[in-house]
């Protein structure tokens, strides 16, 4: 009887442990996709920026238009064996060229990289026009 109780208790304990593990697994099953989704979407925040300096005076960061930004996606293929090389249309910035360029992941960059095993990797390019100007001819 005592043995039975012990065995019963052991079985109950095993069952409870199993339930806890099941709950843990269920919790993990819910948590993992959420964590993965957060990690993948947050990876869209990675970005790098280049900004030109003024050649004049304090040589600070050049004046740019932050209101009207030209954005597009460039692609790299086959683990970087084919890469995008891109030069902006001079008319985009009224002939003044880019003052700042940001390159960053899109929200779907990492998922796509994983899905395609790195065969297709998109990046977002943002171009901010240079608006610096030397003084012109006055009257």
């Amino acid at each position: 009887m005592r043995l039975g109780v012990k065995v019963g208790a052991k079985l109950e304990a095993q069952a409870a442990g199993s339930q806890r593990r099941t709950r843990r697994w269920r919790g993990a099953a819910v948590f993992q996709p959420v964590a993965l989704a957060v990690a993948l979407s947050a990876s869209g925040c990675y970005s790098y920026a280049y900004q030109q300096r003024s050649a004049e005076g304090p040589q600070g960061l050049i004046a740019i238009d932050r209101q009207q930004i030209e954005q597009h996606t460039e692609w790299s293929y086959f683990w970087g064996l084919r890469q995008a090389e891109w030069a902006p249309d001079p008319l985009t910035c009224d002939g003044q060229g880019a003052g700042r360029v940001e390159v960053g992941f899109r929200w779907f960059t990492v998922p796509l990289m994983l899905l395609t095993l790195g065969i297709a990797v998109p990046n977002e390019v943002s171009v901010f026009c240079n608006t610096d100007a030397s003084p012109g001819k006055g009257p």
Binding site: A42, G60, R66, Q68, P139
Partner: protein, 516 residues
């Protein structure tokens, strides 16, 4: 056939300000970008002309469609002063400017000897552009804000200031305004009591109508777009000078007397008896006890520039806080306010590094250089008469301590401005209380508590138009002395008809009782 300007627009654009403040901006019906280029891609011998024509066309379209229109420069305002949800004009590409007049006939006789120091700049020219190129010509702006990314018109229109006790704010060195008003007609406005240019210059500006009127000038110069689309401004610059910067750390109690009186003797600054060009106190509201070193004093002394200017100093790379990081900081400020005092102190230690004994010398452009978007900033700035700084200091610090929020308190001292709606209106010196911080619910609550406490304590105060302010018909205007508000309204009525007043208003103007 007359050439058409190149004018593009985006529909239903979501517009945000530079600092991505959560309650600023929104969806815009049409977001125009005028340029100094004709539609066929060519330029004009008068480089500004296509841009001017584009502004005129936008106004005519707005008028025909009964739409409200407003212009935005770099979008540095932390309020909706520049914002309109109907038509919004991006002025950044309008970057023509010149220094000095060749033709003396275009300048009033009393200004002819100084005509090489007169600058005309289109609305989109940024302060950093002016600083850079003026320095090369051994000239300098008389004052500016703490940084350099604003456009000249955006900075002037909202009353941007430094802490130049002898100069005032940026609008105070402006001498004339070129404005596109109703019907696309354009005007060059200057004071009747202080004319700078003649009809010949107005004619050169594509036959602008010359308006000589002190009240219209003083009203329009700080009007955040309410008098029309400002195409350009004329202002005076001065021969280049250097600024010697010193930063010292103190206990709060050591700076209180100087904050209230501008008697700097007790601070033991490096040049006793010399009034600094710029004087500023930054306080951590949560580090006020002896030994906590919660106050920072920044002074700049004006020095003559020699033949050689100081070399530029800069670092090649930096890591910038993303919008997400600032939002996270705002979130933590809301849920764990106990971290705020230490966080603030470490931020101030970094931002206000104590200078070596001899100070740091630099040009105006070097001392007030680049800054970066906060990715989620909010700030309020309040003008107080010097005589009431003690009361205001007590009220602001008590309110801040009631429920800490992530913002230091910066005090800057500015000569009173004659512009009717300049928030630096208290004579002889206005003390500007600024609390730049993280955009969080706690910060916004803190602002409201401070505004209410100042009102309850009857401390006269005004609000910077480009920062968070209470938006109702009484409060923002109540602090202005004398007849300034009625003079502003009367001048606007004189300059604009009913349709113009309606076209060049926005929600902030209506809420503050300035639309009529």
């Amino acid at each position: 056939m007359a050439k058409q300007p190149l004018l593009t627009f985006e529909e239903n654009k979501h517009w945000q300000n530079y600092h991505r403040t959560s309650l600023v901006g929104g969806t815009v019906d049409r977001f125009f970008t005028p340029r100094n280029v004709w539609a066929d891609g060519s330029r004009d011998p008068k480089a500004f002309l296509p841009g001017l024509r584009a502004l005129q066309e936008i106004v005519c379209r707005a008028e025909a469609g009964r739409r409200r229109v407003r212009a935005v420069g770099s979008g540095w305002s932390l309020s909706n002063a520049a914002f309109s949800e109907e038509y919004l004009v991006n002025t950044c590409r309008l970057n023509y400017w010149f220094v000095g007049f060749n033709d003396p006939e275009m300048v009033a006789p009393e200004w002819r000897t100084k005509r090489d120091r007169l600058v005309f700049a289109q609305c989109g020219v940024q302060i950093k552009t002016l600083n850079g190129h003026l320095q090369g010509r051994r000239l300098s702006l008389m004052t500016s804000g703490a940084s350099n990314g604003q456009t000249i018109v955006g900075a002037m229109s909202t009353g941007t200031h430094g802490s130049a006790r002898d100069v005032g704010s940026m609008q105070d060195f402006v001498l004339g305004l070129h404005i596109v008003g109703e019907g696309g007609k354009h005007y060059f406005i200057q004071r009747k009591s202080r004319p700078v240019v003649t009809d010949a210059f107005a004619e050169w500006l594509d036959c602008a109508k010359l308006v000589l009127d002190d009240d219209v000038f003083l009203a329009a110069v700080v009007s955040f777009g309410s008098f029309g689309l400002i195409h350009g401004v004329l202002f005076e610059v001065e021969p280049i000078y250097l600024l010697e910067r010193h930063v010292r750390r103190y206990d709060y109690l050591q700076v209180v007397h100087a904050a209230q009186t501008l008697d700097l003797a007790g601070l033991e600054l490096p040049h006793p008896g010399e009034a600094p060009f710029h004087f500023e106190i930054v306080i951590n509201p949560y580090r006020l006890l002896a030994g906590e070193k919660g106050a920072f004093v920044r002074v700049l002394y004006k020095r003559p520039a020699g033949a050689e200017l100081p070399p530029a100093h800069f670092s090649e790379t930096r890591l910038q806080n993303s919008e997400d990081l600032v939002s996270i900081a705002g979130f933590f400020a809301d849920v764990a306010p106990s971290v705020i005092p230490d966080f603030l102190q470490s931020e101030l230690d970094d931002a206000l590094e104590v200078t070596p004994t001899g100070g740091v010398i630099g040009t105006h452009g070097q001392q007030f250089g680049d800054s970066y978007p906060t990715g989620g900033g909010a700030s309020t700035e309040i003008g107080v008469p010097l005589a009431r700084v003690g009361d205001a200091l007590r009220v602001v610090l008590e309110s801040a301590q009631e429920a800490p929020f992530g913002a230091p308190l910066a005090l800057r001292y500015v000569k009173s401005s004659e512009a009717f709606l300049a928030f630096t209106c208290f004579s002889p010196v206005t003390c500007a209380f600024e609390m730049p911080g993280v955009d969080a619910a706690r910060t916004r609550d803190g602002h409201r508590r401070i505004w209410q406490a100042l009102s309850d304590e009857r401390v006269p105060h005004t609000f910077h138009w480009g920062q968070a302010l209470p938006q109702n018909a009484e409060w923002p205007l109540a602090g202005f002395p004398d007849e300034r508000v009625s003079q502003w309204l009367a001048a606007r009525r004189r300059f604009l008809g009913p349709s113009g007043r309606s076209m060049f208003q926005n929600a902030l103007l209506s809420r503050c009782g300035l639309a009529g």
